[in-house]
């Protein structure tokens, strides 16, 4: 059975015989790569467009339909040294992109309007002390109104909408005082202009909008970039399924093209990429990614398999019950629903600040008005002074204080290999005082590794590795990977359930079970020392060697745990694996609190118990069995190798083999929270200085403009310090 690759799912037909595909490409990071790829692909006949997007690490390709197969682009890129895979933009990413470009449009309108109004305001300000005649001033004010009103109506939309949504839900957020301030400032300025008054605040209103939109846009574009990278990572996993398109004909298709009811083939050594039920075949399966249990289980017709299950021995035919992101273990699904509902609604710092801020400011404005009336001012003057209090306190600095820090810190996290899934995760991560780790795939690497490589001579190891390339068994695959072998041996025969054998230079070579190679004694010695390891024996002529294979801890796990403990954060393991394996890992890492054989329900129960004790828990896990606990914890993290479900549930995702990003992220978050608080205090300090001026009726438009831009710059500069994390976590 020869499998064909089928990427037709990803191809878009643009009409007039042109087809389009988007590829995610790994390792594009400079101008050289860009022109190399574009030239290499343009050289293919019939290609009409090959354009690299360096920001998103993607290539857009268009070609004349007919002879070219999309697979040939991927081969061509592989020849050029780049791994590529088609991708389909997920809905979440499309939404982020649309929002970013809307914010940029609003920012453009607000900035151009603010500049032009400022151009009209400066003559008025200088004219007021020289010799401008009132008619000219009114003319300039009317012109300003002409620009300001439509511009504010358009570019204020993000604030007005959000404020309206909040008010309708009987809540308040930072956008409510912003919207009130802007609307009142504009309305008052129009009234003042009609009455030929000296001061109008059109410039202040538009400048405020421009500053706030700049902050929001930067925040949004960072979020968009994170989404794009996450989308690429998902695509580059290149998850495919081997689908039966006829009785005996199979085709390798992307998961997105697999539908419920299809029949797929899961060969030994492969991971199932879909959920389904076995309809034919007998095998042993490793469900460690789903349950955390590393002991293989038997599978036959009727056994349910889940995406992420590793097939160990025989080929299985599976009827798909749900494609990639569909159903899952009913038990986990129920727990997850409960956990998501119970997740305490965390109130973001910005919202807490605005809850305090809005009533105080609005009360101050009201008191100012009543005070001036009590002291004998006219109603008109009193109202104008009250509104100028609102304008000067309009949370320009306050509105930037938090988004600016968030933008800088999510950029810094991004560079260290941590992707943010949810916006408020930084604040929650900052107050973590306990980290709960899953073991399999989180503290350990997701792939198996040879632990006794130093005991085996180099040449023997290499030969064994080349032999191992012929086998699909995951243990053999670990030997092949560890040896770095690239060229498989010829003429190898597989003995079912035993191993592989062949001949080299007239001597027989075997790799497989210890009994198959006559190496039981050596294997037993190894198993006595390390009962959790899997063993694979290698025989070359008369000499025998045995490799111990097990999941290895992440290279810097011990160091990372030590850093956490030193910083006063408690660490604990909650694993679904057997006790000896967990005890061994905990011992190596110096973790005193661990629980083994924990079910998903137990994991949640433990998290809830910790919550009741007042602990702020960071849950780090990768398996499907961790997903409910990830949702229940105060904040959660997943490695990028995790199951779809865990990655979607986690607040943050970290890349690479090391645990350092997890520790570093806590450091960045703590520094960020510190700076957010500082910024809020800076903004409060600015108000403490500016509000008395406004109450005294001294806040002219010039004072408002200077105070606003000064305080905004101050908080932005302070936010830039977030690019370095807290020192004790580095």
């Amino acid at each position: 059975m020869q499998a064909t690759r089928d990427f037709s799912h990803y191809v878009r037909h643009l009409g007039s015989g042109v087809a389009h595909i988007d590829l995610a490409v790994e390792g594009v990071n400079c101008a050289g790569c860009m022109s190399k790829i574009e030239r290499g692909l343009s050289a293919l006949p019939d290609v009409t467009l090959a354009r690299v997007n360096l920001t998103d690490r993607r290539v857009a390709l268009e070609w004349k339909e007919g002879a070219l197969d999309p697979g040939s682009f991927i081969d061509r890129l592989a020849e050029l040294g780049y791994k590529a895979y088609p991708f389909e933009p997920v809905r979440a990413e499309a939404v982020e992109t649309a929002r970013a470009s809307f914010l940029l449009r609003c920012l453009g309108v607000a900035a151009f309007a603010a500049m032009n109004i400022m151009m009209l305001s400066i003559p008025v300000w200088s004219g007021n002390v020289t010799d401008m005649i009132p008619e000219q001033r009114d003319f300039f004010h009317w012109l300003s109104a002409l620009i300001a009103l439509p511009a504010a109506a358009y570019s204020g939309q993000p604030f007005f909408r959000s404020a309206w949504a909040a008010l309708r839900a009987r809540r308040t957020n930072m956008d409510v005082p912003i919207s009130i301030g802007i609307v009142l400032a504009l309305a008052m300025s129009v009234m003042e202009t009609i009455h030929h008054a000296e001061h109008a605040y059109f410039d202040a209103a538009l400048m405020l909008l421009a500053f706030l939109l700049a902050g929001r846009y930067l925040d949004q574009s960072m979020r968009r970039k994170t989404r794009a990278v996450a989308g690429n990572l998902a695509a580059l996993k290149g998850e495919t399924a081997t689908k039966f398109v006829g009785d005996d004909e199979i085709s390798v298709v992307p998961i997105a093209a697999v539908h419920v009811g299809d029949i797929v083939l899961v060969r030994p050594g492969e991971r199932a990429s879909v959920d389904g039920v076995v309809i034919e075949g007998q095998s042993k399966i490793d469900q460690s990614l789903i349950t955390g249990e590393t002991m293989p289980a038997k599978a036959g017709p009727g056994t349910a398999v889940y995406a992420g299950t590793l097939n160990l021995s025989g080929a299985l035919r599976v009827r798909v019950s749900a494609a990639s992101e569909g159903t899952l273990l009913a038990e986990i699904s129920r727990l997850l629903d409960n956990a998501v509902q119970a997740r305490s609604r965390y109130v973001q710092l910005a919202d807490r600040a605005s809850r305090l801020y809005a009533p105080v400011v609005h009360a101050a404005a009201l008191l100012t008005m009543l005070g001036w009336v009590a002291f004998g001012a006219t109603w008109h003057d009193a109202i104008v002074t009250a509104i100028s209090v609102l304008i000067i306190t309009c949370p320009c600095a306050l509105g930037l204080a938090i988004p600016a820090v968030q933008t800088v810190v999510s950029g810094a996290l991004f560079r260290t290999g941590v992707l943010l899934n949810s916006g408020d995760a930084i604040e929650r991560l900052a107050d973590v005082d306990r980290v709960v780790f899953d073991k399999t795939g989180t503290l350990t690497l997701p792939e198996l590794d040879v632990t006794n490589a130093v005991d085996v001579p180099q040449d023997v190891f290499e030969l064994a590795g080349r032999l191992a390339l012929a086998s699909h068994h995951p243990v053999a695959a670990a030997v092949a990977r560890a040896s770095g072998a690239k060229t498989p041996l010829g003429g190898i025969e597989e003995v079912a359930g035993q191993g592989v054998r062949g001949t080299i230079d007239g001597r027989e070579v075997r790799l497989g079970r210890p009994s198959f190679c006559g190496a039981d004694q050596i294997a037993n010695e190894i198993l006595c020392r390390d009962p959790e390891a899997s063993v694979v024996a290698f025989r070359h002529g008369e000499t025998c060697h045995v490799f111990a294979v097990r999941q290895r801890l992440r290279p810097d796990a011990a160091g990372a745990i030590a850093t956490l403990l030193k910083a006063g954060i408690e660490v604990e393991i909650l694993s679904g694996d057997r006790e000896p394996a967990v005890r061994h890992a905990a011992g190596q890492l110096g973790i005193h609190e661990w629980r083994a054989g924990v079910t998903p329900a137990d994991k949640i129960a433990r998290i809830e118990e910790l919550k009741r004790q007042g602990a702020r828990v960071l849950m780090v896990g990768d398996g499907m069995n961790d997903a409910p606990a990830l949702a229940a914890a105060h904040v959660s993290m997943s490695p990028v190798s995790a199951t779809h479900l865990s990655q979607a549930t986690a607040d943050l995702v970290f890349l690479g083999d090391r645990l350092a990003p997890v520790v570093g992220a806590i450091g960045f978050a703590r520094k960020a929270l510190l700076l957010m608080r500082q910024n809020l205090w800076l903004a409060a300090g600015y108000n403490a200085l500016a509000v008395p001026l406004a109450i005294a009726g001294l806040a002219t438009p010039l004072v408002a403009a200077a105070a606003m831009s000064g305080s905004s710059l101050l908080v932005i500069l302070n936010a830039l310090r977030a690019h370095r994390g807290a020192r004790e976590f580095c």
């Binding site: 400079c30 920001t55 470009s101 940029l104 151009f112 032009n116 620009i147």
Partner: protein, 62 residues
Amino acid sequence: MEVLVFLVPLALTLGALGLAGFLWSLKNGQYDDLEGAGWRAIADDEPPVTEEAVSSGVAERR
């Protein structure tokens, strides 16, 4: 001060032109790949455009 009669509309027109230019460039996708655009400016030469599109057009007309 009669000069204002054409100076002010001129200033506003220039502002509007700038805004229109910005919105056009945004719609045209010029902000989609800010990193790549920076590098393209200093690249030695643009990747050669294949003549395929042109020649096929000729072929169809014949």
